[in-house]
Subunit: 442 residues, 2 copies
Amino acid sequence: MMKTNNNTPAAVQIAVIGLGTVGGGAITVLCQNSDVIAARALPIRVKRVVDLDAQRAAGLCEKLNLPQSIISSRWQDAVEDPEIDVIVEVIGGVTVARDLISAALKAGKSVVTANKDLMAAHGGELLQMAADHHVDLFFEASVAGGIPVIQAVKESLAGNRFSQIMGILNGTTNYILTMMCEKGADFAQALSEAQALGFAEADPTNDVEGYDAARKIAILASIAYNSRVSDSMVATEGISQISKWDIAYADEFGYVIKSIGLARFDGEMIDVRVHPAMIKKGHPLASVRDSYNAVFVTGDAVENAMFYGRGAGSLPTGSAIAGDVIAAARNIAHGSRNRWGCTCYQQLPIRPLADVVSKYYVRIQVYDRVGVFAAMAKVLGDCQVSMDSVMQKRRIDAEQTEIVVITHKVRHENLVKALNALTDLDCVVKVNNYIRVEDEDI
Amino acid sequence: MMKTNNNTPAAVQIAVIGLGTVGGGAITVLCQNSDVIAARALPIRVKRVVDLDAQRAAGLCEKLNLPQSIISSRWQDAVEDPEIDVIVEVIGGVTVARDLISAALKAGKSVVTANKDLMAAHGGELLQMAADHHVDLFFEASVAGGIPVIQAVKESLAGNRFSQIMGILNGTTNYILTMMCEKGADFAQALSEAQALGFAEADPTNDVEGYDAARKIAILASIAYNSRVSDSMVATEGISQISKWDIAYADEFGYVIKSIGLARFDGEMIDVRVHPAMIKKGHPLASVRDSYNAVFVTGDAVENAMFYGRGAGSLPTGSAIAGDVIAAARNIAHGSRNRWGCTCYQQLPIRPLADVVSKYYVRIQVYDRVGVFAAMAKVLGDCQVSMDSVMQKRRIDAEQTEIVVITHKVRHENLVKALNALTDLDCVVKVNNYIRVEDEDI
């Protein structure tokens, strides 16, 4: 970028590497709204686009009135161009993306990325590299799509000690659970419908098993607690075990079931996990439907705040990338890159899952005999699991019935012991499911 | 502020002027969380506090371990101190506050304010002054308390063309309407309860008549549409006319009644107003209860996003002020003040209220005679008011009954004409109320 004679900044020049759904959205926002961006901040010019699919690149450039001459299939053409100030990495994955971001940072370019996999696994290393080379590495789009939650936690709320971040961070699972909750669908039906509508991928593992949300809560926890949390530290459970009975019983008790990413800090250890949870119906997260995402933040000053919006999608994610590109460009124009850098100035321990304390809902299939409750109560008591309530629910057949137990707060390890011991009882057929009940801070 | 030899920034020094609820919250956050603020950003030191109430100032300083020597009763002691970098103005009002902010900006100090009255009336002038003196004027706390919505709209979402900002911007009215909705209270009861609990002032006019929300939507509209909107341009209606019947009928139709601040832009004119509105129950704003605030933002890239939290209160508002102080301090440390400045680079016309188009709910008290519907339908048709539905509701006495009409979209001017013409009908006793129905963009 150069200053012109009259002191108006010339365009900041950028390259977009990767023209898939997210990259296409980013470049569309930056081009179609270039007039308001220039007026609000400064002109931003797409000088280079990089994609292996030449046809896709050509089509996008034509649509956006960009010259075909800016297309390349080599990311090095962007990173090695001294006139390019900001690199937008939207190819995803952790190998090429890591190489190209490293190269860009070392070449003195600011980088904007939507890459949650990479940031959750290698964010610390890359942010350090950005600091070393006095450039910016922004990643708003890596968490919750278009929702500007990273800037909020990192900047606007920086005066807070955070005690909890709780988020609906995966649109696919939220869509599936909404369908199960509102239409009585079972998991398989809801997944099929989500796939048919494009809300779930052909291989839904990443979303359904919670791996995607784990990366996002790792990133949020790192920022909120100023301590590097990588996705491998996040205890993760998927939603495929949730049945329509769980949904129905939750409803009776005044809860909805959501897949949440949760990061708590008690002053000593970080408790970070992704799993289905029962949320009280009056909680703001409970009314987050369909594929929407939301992040509920608790700090000692702000109390509770929630950020809600589109957690995915071409243009919403493009909005987050555009915001980061504008911030990076503004920092270049004002000579103030690296104003933030990596905020992980400490290394806090992660609480082992065995020690995490929660309330639980447990659904148990039993033989309908005299003494079942007493036998179960003894086993639970022996394992230090205290019951809040126990209810007989639907009859399964002439011999079997289903019981639901809600526990008081209990260590996870004790709950697992109790469930194993229950399973060993003659009167118990099997433990059908257990789900955490997160009904505090409401 | 000075750099020390080892290149670590020395503390940025600030003064807090006004130690009431908001000022007390701000200084409490900045002092009690000074360690995390220093670690995340840079050290911030309260060098001066100013308040006319010496006892209050002394008590606060004692509580926060600040030396009594920093107390002054003259704001000039802060503004004229060359070592003070940032002035926090939290005295409120538009006279002294305007003088002291002007003086501080001219003295080269960045200013953080929570003053919505001042920003809504004189924001343009003050932001220009900040730009002229190359300093920052931040005002996150002026809208929606602790919710970081100004930074979001101004920075993170800067890539969007906004079509709508719709917010629950006043906690008092939201508390009253929540009580009316959930407990069947009438307006007077709910107001009394709100006053008893400290959610409403002894003179509730500012809140109840919508003036407070008008200032906030004026500020948000100015930012979103890059055009100065002052509170005098906002068409404003209060909630004192809302009856428990309106609440009950709204519920039947699937709506809740909220007092909203609304700013729309259709590419030509800004439509900006504060009034009660019926919101569909499934809309995220509908589940914002009690004294919580929320701002629902629609942009062409982000689609819909919502920001939710505490709209008032000592510590939540203090959180917003602390965030601004940190940003101002960071800009000083990085030599990048005035990165944003005033974003109102255009002057768009405000659509006259007469031309604003809405759907309406109208509650009409009539004599129960043959031909009432026909007579009403003719009058409405003559005024170009098209009906979506008309329903007979409760019987008031042997002779009178109440009718509810939901209109299609109609110009406000035509609706007012129609209501006057209805009132002139022999069969109509009176128009009891009308409320806009805002059920799009859901």
